[in-house]
């Protein structure tokens, strides 16, 4: 490699750094918010059996783990949330006292998660994070469809 090539590469890296750092900061803030939402959802779903859903608490735990891996990859971290930090939709599900309330609260929670993930997909820059977030959006969209009682009309 010539001196000129080394200098060119250093210059290109310096040019790219501010934009990438800003994008990573923004992506990190979004991912932190999504981790909190997944941990809250995992808590709210724990022990619940709902029609059409296999084990949403385990899935949400997997989502939070995958998002934590992405957050660590950009040099950031976040503490697990505590029970008193549940978001409104997760708290409503956690406090539902009968089957109908649980079904309605779960459907509302999924709709709320879809809205957050949709916003995240629009804003995220880093392709690896975007892929993880997109697949989790797809998962919540599937759950919402199954919970809504919209069984296939033949």
């Amino acid at each position: 490699m010539t001196r000129r090539q080394v200098f060119g590469a250093a210059l290109a890296a310096a040019l790219a750094r501010p934009a990438l750092a800003a994008a990573e900061d923004r992506d990190g803030d979004i991912v932190k918010h999504l981790i909190a939402r997944e941990e809250a959802a995992a808590y709210a779903y724990r022990g619940l059996r709902l029609p059409g859903l296999d084990d949403p608490a385990a899935q949400d735990t997997d989502h939070a783990k995958a998002l934590r891996t992405q957050l660590q990859a950009i040099g950031r971290g976040t503490s697990p949330i505590s029970v008193d930090q549940l978001d409104t939709a997760a708290r409503r599900l956690a406090e539902a006292s009968n089957r109908d309330q649980r079904l309605a609260a779960a459907a509302d929670l999924e709709a709320d998660l879809i809205a957050d993930y949709r916003s995240a997909v629009i804003a995220i820059f880093e392709p690896g994070i975007l892929q993880t977030v997109a697949t989790i959006l797809a998962c919540h969209a599937q759950r919402r469809a199954l919970l809504s009682g919209a069984s296939y009309p033949a």
Binding site: R3, F7, A10, L11, A14, L15, A16, R17, P18, A19, A22, A23, G52, D54, A58, Q59, D62, H63, A66, I114, Y117, R118, V121, I122, A123, P127, L130, Q131, T132, A134, T135, I136, L137, A138, C139, A141, Q142, R143, R144, A145, L146, A150, S151, Y152, P153, A154
Partner: protein, 150 residues
């Protein structure tokens, strides 16, 4: 002739100045090839749904195909470039997986709020319909990350 010290000083100053300058981003690859793959995958899914006589689901799949075809036309590409298949009822579940994979792969190539919204909505709607199809076929989804490339 420029000495090594002058070159280093000049280089350092240039890098410092560049770091203070306007943010630049490298553009992602053009989205048309990924749009064509998504259209082909959606058409294959829709054909399988139609073969299984899932009329509502196949109608919604057709709507997604039409949106993709319009997006391609607006970009000056011919939607007929995308493969169009028929039948495939026994291939419905793998076709559903492939459609979700195509949408996930499409997203990083879409830039700006409107394009990303378009891709996110296609993915969410297709995922919901693939779940309903799987449930109707006795195979409800259990993947926490549907659309992950295989």
């Amino acid at each position: 002739m420029v000495g090594r010290r002058a070159l280093l000083l000049g280089g350092g100053a240039a890098i410092l100045a560049a770091g203070c300058g306007k943010d630049e981003r490298v553009s992602p690859p053009a989205p048309e090839p990924a749009l064509l793959r998504s259209l082909a995958a959606e058409r294959a899914l829709g054909a399988a749904m139609a073969t299984l006589e899932m009329r509502l689901l196949s109608a919604r799949s057709r709507e997604r195909s039409e949106k993709l075809a319009s997006a391609l036309s607006e970009r000056g590409r011919d939607p007929h470039e995308a493969l169009d298949v028929t039948g495939g009822g026994n291939e419905a579940l793998p076709r559903g997986r492939r459609a979700l994979e195509a949408y996930v792969a499409l997203l990083p190539r879409l830039q700006g709020r409107d394009e990303r919204s378009f891709g996110a909505d296609l993915l969410a709607q297709a995922a919901a319909d693939v779940a309903l199809m799987g449930d109707a076929l006795g195979t409800p989804p259990d993947d926490p990350f549907p659309g992950t490339p295989t």
